[in-house]
Symmetry: C2
């Protein structure tokens, strides 16, 4: 059977010139170049598929209307930057946090009840109302609040609200009923119920008794996950974040990302790291996924843990805690175990990102990477997440290992008092040691760890260049020798955060052939002072040549979503 | 910020006429129409996206070259039919069966060893060699075969081969070693080892002892699943099958389908039914998936089981088994339990397909559907899978329930002797009662249950129109009043099988607007006798306007895969 072709010329596509291309000019543009250098520009020309065709610099020939572009936007002199990349977030948790009620700034029981009633009315589809942050002391209530008080504003839907310290919870009658908590319920070991004189539960459950309710809070439904993802995207866009590394993706998260992608509701770019080796294989199969949905989703690899957190003294230290000399922390894996898990991932070309907080934890990961590099050659981009406390002696080894340091500047400002207590004065030289790592040749990728911290790259940039908190404290910055330059901080939030996720050929810079992911903001982070950078107002967020958010309209749902 | 548009006319797409359209003419075409009527045609015109633009009938004006099509294929008078749809298969199991070695037709130990050596050489990447079907009696060996004999042809890779009856397995030394089976291994309860005089295991393990090796056979790796899917597609295309209902999809299967779709390696159309409610939610989330990959994959709903199989007396009967009066079978769910599971699925618009073999099982499903139809209005398309043994009194209820009967004609011919033994002569009137169901108004969807039976729609068509096996027995057909006409059988393998999966607007017929899924074969099933239909040779298989298989070249990998 013969297949005859006529008129091959007819098969050519439409002219590639000016096919619905868009020019944005009159911007004060800044991007980090391929070699980390700062580049200034005045306009951006991108095609209908959302790919950058030209970056226009001052003095360049201007693109010709109709011939080189169809759409024109006047940037009105605003600052244009590459879309911010948060190299360490928990996407679904950002969204779930937004689906719960924050009572931490309520000033009275009445204030709290008003807020609860409002939240309840705004979220009629939530099966339970979940919240946290109340404090009867701040309210000067002189007693715990009660289920009856909640019932009056929430009706028959279960409500469960954690106290500010996480050591008590306040339930309404529907939640007590769902958990079968009655006068006959005995106080569990390590917990108690606030009771009326007749023994019936008043509504607050303390410590181990909280588990009675916690066990009945329904697991998220798929539609809850979809809603959480939508919320997370909006939260990220509002801060100018166009791409993230998702640290600890489970199959249910992945399925939510794919549902959004399949339905053209996935706008943000997600570089995913699976929650351990089993989820890695379930999600990725024989290796990392391809880039999906026009470079909006990829399973890059796996997230592993080698220790815990500093605050809870889970971080694994070389020497005992200054404020708890009986412990050096809680290692989760020794170097051999870690090496085996990393090897399992690396043999199938999955990227490995290892959580390491303490100096012993970091030394262990560096050791494992150094060993594995003998076997797994090539471009592996081992990542150390947090890399928070380093023995200064290990910084050169860190650099030699080729590992990427994925760090969160705001952790430094949030943690400094606690870190000083945990570590004592002797071990601060290698704490949050951004500049030392950079100077040694380590590539930095910056992020927020949201929702642990707010996903705010402007706060991150400000902290990175100042080592000061939002209050400007401490004067002159904490361990100020570890400040990085504004350009170095910007690189870590853009080009190098993309590199850390194998995305440097796709986004993270504004250059021809890359995706047109950018923000328009009111402040130039390279010339403003830290306080101004922290106060940056995001005006518009664009992904793949489509506007996804503006200060004027919020979420820009009219944006072509397939770009 | 204003967005100005120039020259809107330039934004129009290329001319829609003749844009790489293809004409296949000079065919003897037959399709089932929207109302079940048979339609004859002589040619098919489809566009570059694989969608049918025109069906050309004898006497129609001929499409003009260049103006109406760019490519032309002469059908050379061959028979063109819609691609066959197998309404009940297990896709991955088809592929896995092809990855194991079938020894059932070996005639001697030497013959078997040759086959094992050949298979081993052909599959160097399989971690274990798995097979079945050997019989030392057929070989006239007078003893069990040994590990040493296997070692000579398989080397250090583990080999594990089940005997024809499934009651013994033959391991090589590597498999014995992997399982830690030595002279010190005791015979387990209900099992034994074939041993040398010194007590060392010779290689064959009987009954419960097989579990020692079974437990060590590695679970399929993602790359094994990918290979199985590729094999399954080739097996289906060779028989002219272009779409299937996959009954019992798990998340790992789904991930393999998506990997293939993401990589443009998914050609067959899969209508998936999840393996139970948990997998349904994990795969589909809040409801059925959209049609993905140009209508090649959709999670339609869930597969449930209400009983077992007739052969093993698991089918749930109204009266005791004729050959085992102490039992009526093994119900897996009562009507209330079944109704709850169906309700859980239906409330999120998942389609429900329930396995029911025995007459009591079928009555139970019909009852549940009748009850649920009060609550879940609209187009639910409840499916009963197999619907094998019906109480004739239930056939009218079946029709009133609106359920689709998803039946496998070849089961009738394979099972008839066994069915007569199980049921006795009194209960055969409602067995495999295709015609009675059709006459009562029930829509039939035909399939194979592959790999339980070969995925061969031509054998199915022949059985459906004859009630005879491949040997032509029994003369005149078994319960011949239940034969269906060739046109009815063809509808059940095409248009109605598509309808049963909510795909009637996408494929299953050859009509404008539907996907160009078709086969070219050497036999017209509407005019040939059953033996001829059974011997049909598939010449070419096309999906979405792309050739995926030909008798000449096998898999047509050059086909544009994104169609």
């Amino acid at each position: 059977m013969r297949r005859a072709a006529f008129a091959a010329a007819l098969l050519l596509g439409p002219s590639t010139a000016a096919w619905a291309d868009t020019l944005i000019d009159n911007v004060r543009g800044t991007t980090v170049g391929a070699n980390g250098q700062v580049e200034q520009f005045t306009g951006l020309l991108f095609d209908d598929a959302g790919t950058i065709k030209r970056v226009i610099h001052a003095g360049d020939r201007k693109p010709r209307p109709r011939k080189e572009y169809q759409y024109h936007l006047d940037g009105q002199g605003r600052v244009m930057l590459p879309g911010m990349i948060d190299a360490h977030v928990h996407v679904m948790d950002i969204g779930f946090a937004a689906l719960s009620l924050d009572l931490s700034d309520t000033t009275s029981l009445a204030d709290a009840l008003n807020r609860i009633a409002k939240f309840s009315a705004e979220h009629p589809d939530r099966p339970w109302i979940i919240g946290r942050g109340w404090n009867q002391e701040t309210w000067q209530l002189g007693r715990f609040p009660t289920a009856a008080e909640l019932d009056a504003v929430t009706g028959g839907r279960p409500v469960w609200l954690q106290r500010v310290d996480g050591h008590a919870g306040w339930a309404n009658s529907a939640a007590l009923k769902a958990a079968g908590v009655t006068a006959a319920t005995k106080d569990p070991a390590g917990g108690s119920l606030d009771r009326a004189p007749d023994g019936s539960p008043r509504g607050v459950l303390v410590d181990a008794a909280m588990e009675l309710i916690d066990a009945k809070v329904p697991a998220p439904r798929p539609e809850d996950r979809d809603l959480a993802l939508a919320n997370a995207q909006q939260i990220l866009f509002k801060r100018g974040i166009t791409a993230v590394a998702d640290m600890g993706t489970g199959i249910e998260d992945w399925q939510a990302y794919r549902r959004a992608g399949d339905a053209n509701r996935l706008y943000v770019r997600i570089m995913a790291y699976a929650r351990g080796p089993e989820q890695m294989v379930l999600i990725g199969g024989p290796g990392p996924s391809p880039w999906l949905y026009q470079d909006r989703l990829r399973l890059n690899g796996v997230k592993l843990y080698v220790d815990g957190a500093l605050g809870s003294r889970g971080a694994w230290l070389k020497a005992p805690y200054a404020d708890a000399p009986e412990t050096r922390g809680l290692p989760q894996l020794n170097q051999t175990q870690l090496g085996n898990l990393m090897s399992r991932a690396a043999m199938d070309n999955f990227q490995v990102a290892v959580h390491a907080i303490g100096d012993e934890a970091n030394a262990t990961v560096i050791g494992a990477i150094t060993d594995l590099s003998e076997t797994y050659k090539g471009d592996r981009r081992w990542r150390i997440e947090h890399a928070q406390i380093l023995d200064p002696k290990d910084i050169a080894r860190f650099a030699r290992s080729g590992a990427i340091a994925s760090m969160q500047p705001v952790h430094q400002t949030s943690d400094r008092v606690m870190a000083e207590a945990r570590l004592g004065p002797e071990r601060l030289a290698g704490a949050y040691a951004w500049k030392s790592l950079k100077a040694a040749g380590v590539r930095l990728a910056f992020g927020s760890d949201a929702p642990v911290e707010v996903a705010d790259p402007w706060a991150g940039l400000a902290a990175a260049m100042s080592r000061q908190g939002p209050d400007g404290q401490p004067e002159g910055g904490w361990q100020p020798q570890e400040r990085v330059s504004p350009a170095e901080a910007l690189a870590a939030y853009t080009a190098d955060a993309a590199y850390a996720g194998f995305a440097e050929g796709k986004f993270g810079r504004l250059a021809p052939g890359l995706r047109a992911d950018f923000v328009l903001v009111d402040t130039d982070p390279l010339t403003a002072n830290p306080a101004q950078v922290r106060a940056t107002k995001v005006l518009e967020t664009w992904i793949g040549g489509g506007k996804v958010w503006s200060a004027e309209n919020g979420l820009e749902t009219g944006t072509p979503s397939t770009r």
